[in-house]
Amino acid sequence: MTNSNLSRREFLALSATVGASALAACSAPTPAPAPASAPVLPTKADVTLRVQGDEKNEAPILPSFQSKFPHIKLEFVSVTGIDHEEVASKILTMIAAGETLDFGYSATEALQVYAGMGLSQPLDEWVKRDSTEMADFFSEVHPSLVQAMMYEGSLYELPFDFNAANMYINTKLFKDNGIEFPSADWTKDDFVSAARKISKPGDAGKQVYGFGWTNRLWGSWMPWIFANGGNLFEQEEAPGGEWLWGTYYKNDPMAKGRGGGYRWINPVANSPAVVEALQLVVDLYKEGVTPGMVLGGGSELQGLLGDNHLGMTPGGGFWAGGLGNAGFPKGSFDVQLWPKWKNQTHQFGTGGQWMVAASKHKDEVWEYSKHRISKDGMQTWFDTNGIVTTPARRPMLNATAFAKTGPEHWQVFYDTLDKHPETAPIPCPPISNPMTTLFTNYTGQAMDFKLTPQAAMDSLQKELVDLVARSKDVMYPKK
């Protein structure tokens, strides 16, 4: 082959343009294109909203929505995960990959994750615009839930549901062991005594445990931290929010002094209250009062409780529907407030729909979100789907709602907010995802006896401080 033939070098030169173009795109990272929405079409009839959610669950309220807005169609994108942070991770990845989305559902765990990255849209302008409908809504919703949906003075979601960590109780095991159903002001010592009485060692598959919990952020050993007067971070009030409190809650004493959401900036994971709370659950495990740590969202514990292998476990209103759907009859379980330790502060999480900031159909998204939290919308949703979570509207928690499933003391769910206004959301700063990973990791090391509770929390504290330091871009930039 002579020089005048097409050598490899010449071929590469000929194809350099194509190769260079391809590699040029990879040479330096640039921000991903903002999550795009479905294209705006000229006529109202053609608007299609892409929504992250479960089509089956939403089906009951779609006909009434589409009778009002026949031009708005919904296309559902189902995203599943064992826990909220896993769902949030998937959604972030989807958006980063250019997946289009107009709105989705998020719980407290992800609210500040999306807001901190600028992915979600504040709803302030619409909330102010539709003040009549909003006044009706807010009149039935506890201000704690609303504040948990705020970030840096703006409202990012309308609370649709919430779950506070209360104590679910296996009524048969209580009765069999001669334990009275606890009063609302029962204490940590009452709890430990009951848990010990219920626990019965036995061969694999036959043991009975007094208490069980999953290794996650909400409802794990976190309720003990709150009841002991601790938290993973110092909880601060963000400034702002007067526009909302002054308009919709001006006569509500429980709304007095509330700010524009929460900030969790300074980790206090190795404070004595947190270490003591971890020591409690580690000791209960050592004693054989609790089973081995369970991962995930709690379905395994639901099975144990319903099958009389577990006496008590943290759960919210969603457990009533979960146990009912799993076939456990009304009366086989009940619920009580979390026991008092240094105080009786509960933890909760709330959820609602968030609007994607890049959506080109924000007005349409708002209309659906508003329809979903309307009296009719919520009632229809819960009537059809059952009490698979706790409605945010106070009047919807009534005897009728729990008639089929129980628990008998369903009033506990809203009492947690009304009678304990200090009750607060689980700490979920914009770094909630990596924070949860660290929390569950060190919890695991303490429960495996690899680290003492103090050492585990010291390590967690150090890692949280490092995490906050390297996450300044998303951690409350307005401060």
Partner: protein
């Protein structure tokens, strides 16, 4: 004068522009050779393009990204080698590297040994349908997804209500905290992986054994080779190419293990069963630290390259091709 004209004519011909099409279309031997070469390059172009866009491009992108801090939604910042410095001090990532290495060494060692054992067992006298049944039974798990296998094993190995501990208790043993103890968690994941991957190893070994010339085996038998001698001096050398293939492919796959440990333990308790790829996943998709994740992937790539190179170099000493 004539020479001058001739020189001018040659230089004019040299300067004369030749179009690309006519360059290829020249009806000469060189033109034909060019056309032939072009045809060849056209045929390989899709592959070259695919490799460039889908392999080389992402690899180069990952290497470049490892020097940035980037959460996708905000502009990237060049941080130099900070990600690598952070990784060197990140005990969680280092534990992941150590666990992956341990996982690969134990799992692949056992996989090869047990795969060979099963393959030899299936060569013993048995009816044809029994051989087919066992081959199928051992290979079927390989077709399952790692996540499904992990979930099933996590239920079976549950320390309190798992079926394995139930039978152990019937035999008088105390329950084992398969997934909740840092001593047992990684071994439990290896067990699940082994159950799934053993069939592949067995089929590979059976294929290797079927390639062994019966004449050699007959000659060995005539020479009195039996038992351990037969295995060590005859079978293993003859199977060494298959074993080498299994070791290389297996180690590459094991160093990238993610699905079973994620489904079974999430890397816990603590970091007891965390693997390299779990650290990578966590950094990229849970923490949105794409630059840091890229630096982990670069080191993972280098580790796999190094291990594979060592395998190939050492293979020259113990792999025998017939």
């Amino acid at each position: 004068m004539t020479d001058q004209v001739s020189k001018n004519s040659r230089s004019a011909r040299k300067r004369q522009p030749v179009s690309l099409v006519s360059w290829f279309a020249q009806n000469t031997l060189k033109g034909m050779a060019r056309r032939k070469a072009l045809l060849g390059y056209i045929f390989v172009a899709p592959t070259i393009l695919g490799v460039t866009v889908f392999v080389a491009g992402p690899v180069l992108f990952s290497i470049a990204l490892s020097f940035y801090a980037w959460n996708v939604f905000q502009p990237a910042k060049n941080v130099g080698v900070e990600n690598y410095i952070r990784m060197a001090a990140d005990s969680r990532v280092l534990v992941g590297f150590f666990n992956s290495a341990k996982f690969a060494a134990i799992a692949i060692g056992l996989q090869i040994a047990l795969g060979l054992g099963l393959a030899l067992a299936l060569r013993t006298k048995m009816t044809s349908w029994m051989r087919t049944y066992f081959r199928t039974a051992f290979f079927l798990p390989f077709l399952l997804s790692g996540v499904a296998t992990g979930l099933v094993f996590s239920y079976m190995l549950n320390s309190d209500f798992g079926v394995v501990n139930y039978y152990l208790s019937l035999l008088g043993f105390a329950p084992i905290r398969f997934l909740n103890s840092s001593e047992a968690a990684l071994n439990s994941v290896i067990l699940a992986y082994m159950w799934q991957a053993l069939g592949f190893s067995m089929i590979g070994m059976l294929g290797g054994l079927s390639n062994v010339s019966p004449d050699i085996l007959d000659a060995a038998t005539v020479d009195g080779a039996t038992g351990w001698n037969w295995l060590w001096h005859i079978i293993l050398p003859l199977l060494s190419p298959t074993i080498f293939f299994m070791a290389v492919v297996g180690v590459i796959s094991a160093l990238q293990i993610f699905d079973q440990p994620y489904a079974m333990t999430r890397g816990g308790p603590g970091d007891a069963s965390r693997t390299m790829v779990m650290s990578l996943y966590e950094a990229a998709f849970k923490n949105m630290e794409l630059g840091y994740a890229a630096s982990i992937s670069v080191i993972l790539f280098i580790v796999i390259m190094a291990v594979t190179s060592v395998q190939f170099i050492s293979g020259k000493k113990w792999v025998f091709y017939q």
